[in-house]
Structures are given as C-alpha cells and as structure tokens.
Amino acid sequence: MPRAIGEVLAGLAADRTRILVVALGVTWGTLGLTLLLATGVAMHAATDETIEVGGADLLRFWSGTTSRPHAGLPAGRRISFEVDDAELVRAAVPELRAASLEYQAGSVQARVAGRAPTNLRVHGVGSEFSRLRGFVPEPDPEHGRVLNERDVREHRRVAFVGRTVLRRLFGDVPIEDVVGSRFELRGQAFTVVGVRDARPPLGNYSGRDEDKLLIPETTWRDLFGARSAVYLIAGLHGRELAEAAKARVRAVLGARRGFDAEDTDALGCVDKTVIDAEVRGITVGVLALTGIVGVLGLLVALVGVGNAMFVMVDERRREFALLVALGARPATILRQRIVEALAITLLGGAAGIAVAGMLLFGIRQIPIGDEGRAYLGYPELSWSVALGTAVALGVAGGLAGYWPARRAAAVDPVEVLRDE
C-alpha cells in the first residue's frame, strides 16, 4: 500500500489541533496585552483627572517664622498673612492666574433645626478659591453652585459643603433637597448653595475635601475675628512658572512683611506641580511597564506561531512540492502561508480581544471605592487599545509567518517528490 504522502500528510487533522493550540496561545497573549494596556491607559487617565480634581499647577504658601535677620529685624519673628495678600500677590506676580487666602477654624458647632449639633471645620475662602482648588458641584444632576465674588463682597452667610459635611448636618437626604437648606453656624443662620462632587482629589491637606465646609472669607472674619489666614493658594499660568512665581511671591511679601526673599522658613510653600509630576511619572512608568510586559507576552505567543508554522511547513513539504510541480507559482505558496499565519494570529487575537472585553466588563463591576477609582479608573476596551492590539497582531503575525512561508515557497519538487 503506497503511503508516501499519506505518512507525511497524515496530519491534516493533527494540524487542526496544532492550529487551535497556536491560536489559543495568541489568544492568551492578546488577552494579556489588552488587559494590561486597558488597565494602564485607564490608570493613566484616572490619575490625570484626579490631579485636575484637586486643582493643577497650584502653589500653597503658609506663613512661618523668619530664620534669619532682615533689614535690622531679628530672626525668629512670626509672619502672618494679611487680608489683602491675595490681591497683592496677584497684582504683583505676573506668573499667577489667581490667588485666594484660606482661613480655617476647627471644631465649630453647627446644627440643623430638629437635629443634634455637630462639630465641623470651617474654611473661609476668596471667590477664586473654588476654581483654583477644584471645588465644583456635580453638574448633572445639578448640585448648586460654588461661592462667588458677590458672596464675598456682601459677607453673605452661604456655604459650599463636602458630602460628609452634608451627611453629618442633614443626615441621609437627597442632595438636591439640601441645596437651599438652612443650618446654623455659631448661632448664625447659613444657607447651603452647593455640594462638592464626590471625586477625591490628589493631595489632601487639612483633612479631606469632602469634610470641608467653605464660607466666604469676609463672612469667616465676621464670625471668627481677626485671625490670620492659614494658607495662600496661588494658581500658575503654567507649571513651568512655579520657581519664578515662588521667588516673586516671597520677594513681594518679604518686602511688605520684612523678611528675606530667600527665607523659606518665613514663607513656606508646597509646590503641587512637583507632586503632580511625580504621580504622573509613576503612572507613565506603569503604563510603559504594562505595555512592555504585554508586548513581550504577545511576542512569546508569536514566536509560538512562527515555530508552529515552521513545523507545519516541514510536514507539508510534499504537498507544496506537488503543487509547485503541478504549476503553482512559488509566490502563491508564499502568499498562502503568510495568509495562513495571519489568519491563525487574527483568529486567536480576535478571541483574545473578545475575552478581554468580557473580563474588563467584570473588572469594572468590582467595588473598589471612589478612592481606588480615582487612580485605577475604569479599564475598558477602547478603540485605541483594540486597534493597537490588532495592528501589533497583524504585523507580528505577518512576520511570524514570513520565514516559514519562504521555506515553503523554496521547496524543490525534484528533491521532495523523488521516488526512491
């Protein structure tokens, strides 16, 4: 019984298994790449947004104690902010787009009629504070408004509150119902004009933003007297201006308060651009790492495709030799093998992307809290991720198929079909 071809080609069925295994390898590689990319991209985007939530390109100054003598004044003098410092620096420092003082009073008794009183931290702020620090109400459904210039000018008894404050004051009521409600602060009647959205910011200070109750700085001074502001918040026109702005603010306030422009103890500063850059750097690093790991995984899968193609080509040498002998052009054999490799790759890849899509859906349902979401975001199968993966698959599949295909096209029918 002649079985020349039969022996070598007995593997069409075996090939089907091999093709399946290889495609599954690609599925696995694609799944890994897609998941990693989606997670990395979501994390990057979420962190970027979180940086913006707390206000980007910010300088937060605090007043301290002089560490060196200046203009005949001794070291060790206590420096404090004055009422018009925000206007002063904004007018004198061109690098700044806005500035606001932030007054603070802790453990202030507040109460709503018919409910038990509670102690809150009350912040007195200028009209530009909300915009600088990203204190905004939920736009949809609308949760009121931020404090404005008129509130400050007219010493209005209005408040913009965080969610925790809201719950402690009013209990579990719909936020829409709270806007416009009244409460008492130190015995004075106040009206809630807005509720801060739920997004957590990057870089909390003096407690979380959701624990804060903001009132106009003028009203704050009416309530608590001539205490100094705790912080001077300044927004930059651009993050690259941070150093210049810091120096100029110290020079301007130093000239007025009598401290050395280089004295960083007299006027301290937290530079949020530095923190933001560090966090951005981390997420870029994570994104790069996920990308590299994902691509490596895919490469391993594709080395598998290439390998399996070589094996298949070798096993089918007789078939290709026969086809060439019967009039198939070598270029046609080459093209068919590349198409074959591409088909296996894309088939496996499509399955991988589909599975990734389902897994990502599941991942988005995992309750990790607002704080977690702020940095991990919502990993999803975006078009860019899917397209990037598909392109990577196509290119790599073509490459993995090319050399085996050349080997297939180079078969010499005389050698292979020789009848011993």
Binding site: M1, P2, I5, L322, L326, G327, P330, P413
Partner: protein, 236 residues
C-alpha cells in the same frame, strides 16, 4: 484533445550535480527531439539518468549545460514563476507513487491543476468529473485516496495530469508501485492517450512494456545510447 502541439528539443543537454568533491554527471550531452504526438519509452539501468531527463523535459529542473527548447522557447531563460506556469499549462506529470493529496477526494485531486490555473469552481468540477469518467473512475469521485486501490489511485493521478489538456505527458515508472494486473491496465490507459497530438513519454524498467512504444530511448551513465523509432504505428 491537447490544446497545443509541442515540439521538445534537447541540444547538448547536461546535468551535473556537485556533491562534495566528486561531480555526478546525471546527463551528458543529450541530443533529442520529440515531435508532437510521439509515444516513447525511456529505458536504462538504475541511476542512468532517466528521472533526471524527465525532470528536465518537465521543466522541474533546468539543465546545467546545453539548451532545452519547449515549443521553441528556451526554458533556461525563464524564471521560477514562468516555469511554474509552463508546467501547469503544458505538462502533465505521473509519478511512481501517485502523490495524491490524502485528505481530498478523487474529484478534488483531479481539479488541483485547474484550480492552480484559476479555473472557476463549476467548470473545474465538470472537467474533473469528465476526466474521472475517462479513466474509468466516474463512480469514485468522492472517494479519498486511502479508499482506492493503487491502480485506481494511479488512474486518478493520470486524470489529474490531463486536467489542463497538456501537450506533453510525462510518467516516471507509473507502474512501479503496482502489481502486474494493475500495471497492465494503467499502461493500457496511457497507450489510449497517445495519438491525440499529445507527446507521451514513459520511464520504465519493463522491456515488454517498452516494446509496445513507437520509440525507445535508452540511457546509460547519463548518455543517450539509442533513440530509435521502432515503427510509425502501433506494433502488432
């Protein structure tokens, strides 16, 4: 039946294999002309160069010396794609071991050369069916090679060789893998295919079979020993 009458002309053809230090001269200075419609047997001891000569004639390999003109075209001047086209369109091969695709039906196997020439599916199937009828296997179209006897497989291979109506049919020991009864019927079939303007060249060890050919070519150590035309017609 064949589309083109083709003259084959070998001019001082040599094939040399450079294996290690010693060169093997598989063919030396072969001068041969086949007129359209010739029916010839190719004889010679093992290793005398019969298969090599057949491969040259079938454009599967190009001579290392001399020229081979197929229908006036110098085969040595063609590239791989052109040689493939030439094989597909003008030459039919029959191998000793059939070389059918094991996973495909007889019909599909016969249709392979048609597919390679871009013949449409309908026409392909119709022609393949016709050819299977012609070799007496009309009722075996859906059988796979494993389900056919050796003689039947070789008939399928012959049908495949005829698919594109080639002017030249080359068979390398087509009965070498068959018992004598099956071999005889295959030879009968091949004999029937002569006289349609098609050149038929069969390599064989069997002097009795060769004696039925109109022309007998003898090779020895790669040299042509004789290429006499026995008679013009079929021997009695």
């Amino acid at each position: 039946m064949s589309d083109e009458s083709t003259t084959l002309e070998l001019q001082g053809v040599g094939v040399t294999y450079a294996t290690g230090a010693a060169a093997v001269h598989a063919l030396r200075d072969v001068e041969l002309v086949f007129e359209p419609g010739e029916y010839a047997a190719l004889l010679g001891p093992s290793g005398s160069g019969k298969s090599t000569l057949l491969h040259v004639l079938g454009c599967l390999q190009t001579p290392t010396a001399g020229r081979y003109l197929l229908g006036g075209v110098d085969v040595g001047s063609l590239d791989r794609a052109q040689l493939a086209d030439l094989r597909g369109q003008r030459i039919g091969f029959v191998f000793q071991r059939f070389h059918l695709l094991p996973g495909r039906t007889a019909l599909d196997n016969v249709a392979v050369p048609l597919r390679l020439q871009g013949v449409g599916r309908r026409e392909r199937e119709a022609r393949a069916r016709q050819l299977l009828e012609r070799v007496g296997l009309g009722d075996r179209a859906t059988h796979r090679p494993g389900e056919l006897s050796g003689g039947q497989q070789q008939r399928v291979a012959i049908a495949r060789a005829l698919a594109n109506r080639p002017g030249v049919l080359l068979a390398d020991e087509p009965t070498g893998s068959l018992d004598s009864a099956a071999g005889a019927s295959v030879m009968e079939l091949l004999e029937e295919l002569r006289g349609e303007g098609r050149t038929v060249l069969i390599v064989t060890h069997d002097e009795a079979l060769a004696s039925r050919a109109a022309r007998v070519i003898r090779l020895q150590d790669g040299r042509l020993v004789s290429s006499a035309r026995v008679s013009d017609g079929r021997p009695a």
